[in-house]
């Protein structure tokens, strides 16, 4: 479902050379190569932003989380160990922790982007999609189910990658996904078609 990042070249590479791996880019970033950092950022900002947006419903939170993930990478870029999993899992793990902390702290008070101007395409998207029963159903799930549904079914992480991001067993991911989808299905089945104004999620700014 999610694109696993985009390729691109960075300083010192030609267009004909292979797309640098995440590890190559991380190494370049550690050496102060701004182009490597930019390539890494552009590869991963979209998936991480979408994770935080989909799990919270808040563009402001998603923006903060995206920035803070990469700030964490700058502060402790030695923290990633390739032998323990893909960079995707590592970055999603940081995003998940940051988003979870904010969602729990600001429960019911997340800014949902209504302050954006009418010409902001992202705000338009969020306004439109918030009336979507699927997103409403996702946002209504308990957080531990919501995270797994978003990671596996929307972000496209495998069970192993999601388990690595969440620091839990694969069996836990499977059982949470099972229960989360079951609850989501029940919500979707019980939802009667509503006018758009009635179908807003039960979240307040």
């Amino acid at each position: 479902m999610e694109s696993r990042g985009r390729g691109g070249s960075f300083q010192g590479r030609t267009a004909e050379s292979v797309t640098p791996s995440d590890h190559d880019l991380l190494r370049g970033m550690r050496d102060g190569d701004e182009a490597a950092f930019t390539a890494l950022y552009r590869r991963w900002q979209g998936p991480l932003y979408r994770y935080a947006l989909r799990v919270s419903g808040s563009p402001a939170l998603a923006e903060d989380v995206t920035q803070e993930v990469f700030m964490a990478l700058l502060r402790r870029n030695e923290g990633y160990d390739p032998s323990r999993g893909e960079l995707s899992s590592y970055l999603h793990g940081i995003a998940r922790n940051l988003a979870r902390r904010r969602i729990e702290r600001e429960r019911g008070h997340l800014p949902l982007g209504d302050e954006a101007g009418p010409d902001d395409p992202l705000a338009d998207l969020v306004r439109r999609e918030r009336s979507d029963l699927v997103w409403e159903g996702i946002l209504g799930l308990p957080l531990h189910y919501r995270e797994v549904v978003v990671l596996c079914d929307l972000q496209g992480l495998s069970y192993e990658e999601a388990a690595s991001a969440m620091g839990c067993a694969v069996g836990t991911v499977r059982s949470r996904l099972h229960r989360g989808r079951e609850q989501l299905g029940a919500r979707l089945r019980s939802a009667r078609p509503l006018p758009a104004t009635e179908a807003l999620p039960r979240m307040t700014r």
């Binding site: 479902m1 920035q67 997103w135």
Partner: protein
């Protein structure tokens, strides 16, 4: 395959992933002969379709360009990686607003003294603001010529975009809570002027009587 075993596989079956070919065939065969499990599979497929459609509709959402710009500033200035090089996060802004609300809820706003509404230039404030020193003599903390005492611990007020002076009245008991010498036995209130930033957070205070 039993219905219980089918239930274990139904999510993987509906997602079309993470299931071996022979197990998939066995599960589909079970659903063909079991109405309840067939309906269960239909439900899960409907959830999968809904999620995929939603994922596709939100696939274009990306972080605003200002995030990349802020991170590049942080990269170029490693000393600022602690957070100073980037804009305050929305959560910090919310905390500042909450702090401002808490402070302002504790005070009663009164009309400005002598009809003064316009704030002096920020540099004037910064020059006049003394660092917070609980040991400062009480005489220096009150009166017409009293210095403003910083409430923001190290923040340079000259870097703020806009500042405003508010005349307020506080109960005397609030002085002790703020760390100033106060006789708790005295009733009544004291007048003060508070420098407030554009975010509503109090930055400095001085007592005028």
């Amino acid at each position: 395959m039993s219905c219980e075993e089918f239930e274990d596989d139904v999510v993987d079956l509906a997602r079309g992933e993470e299931l071996a070919d022979d197990e998939r065939a066995e599960a589909l065969s079970h659903a063909e002969g079991c109405l309840r499990c067939a309906a269960r599979l239909d439900d899960e497929r409907a959830v999968t379709n809904g999620l995929r459609a939603f994922a596709a509709r939100t696939a274009g959402a990306e972080a605003p360009a200002r995030v990349e710009a802020a991170l590049l500033r942080a990269l170029r200035d490693p000393e600022g990686v602690g957070g100073d090089a980037t804009r305050p996060s929305h959560s910090v802004e919310l905390l500042l607003l909450a702090a401002a609300a808490a402070i302002l809820a504790a005070i009663v706003v009164v009309p400005p003294r002598d009809g003064r509404l316009a704030a002096p230039a920020p540099s004037t404030y910064a020059a006049a603001v003394a660092p917070a020193t609980p040991e400062a003599p009480a005489a220096a903390l009150a009166g017409e010529n009293a210095e403003f005492v910083s409430l923001s611990y190290g923040e340079d007020l000259r870097e703020l975009d806009s500042l405003q002076v508010m005349s307020v009245e506080l109960p005397r008991t609030a002085l002790a809570a703020l760390g100033w010498p106060a006789d708790s036995a005295q009733a009544g209130s004291v007048k003060a002027e508070v420098i407030v930033g554009h975010d509503g957070v109090a930055r400095a205070i001085r007592f005028v009587d």
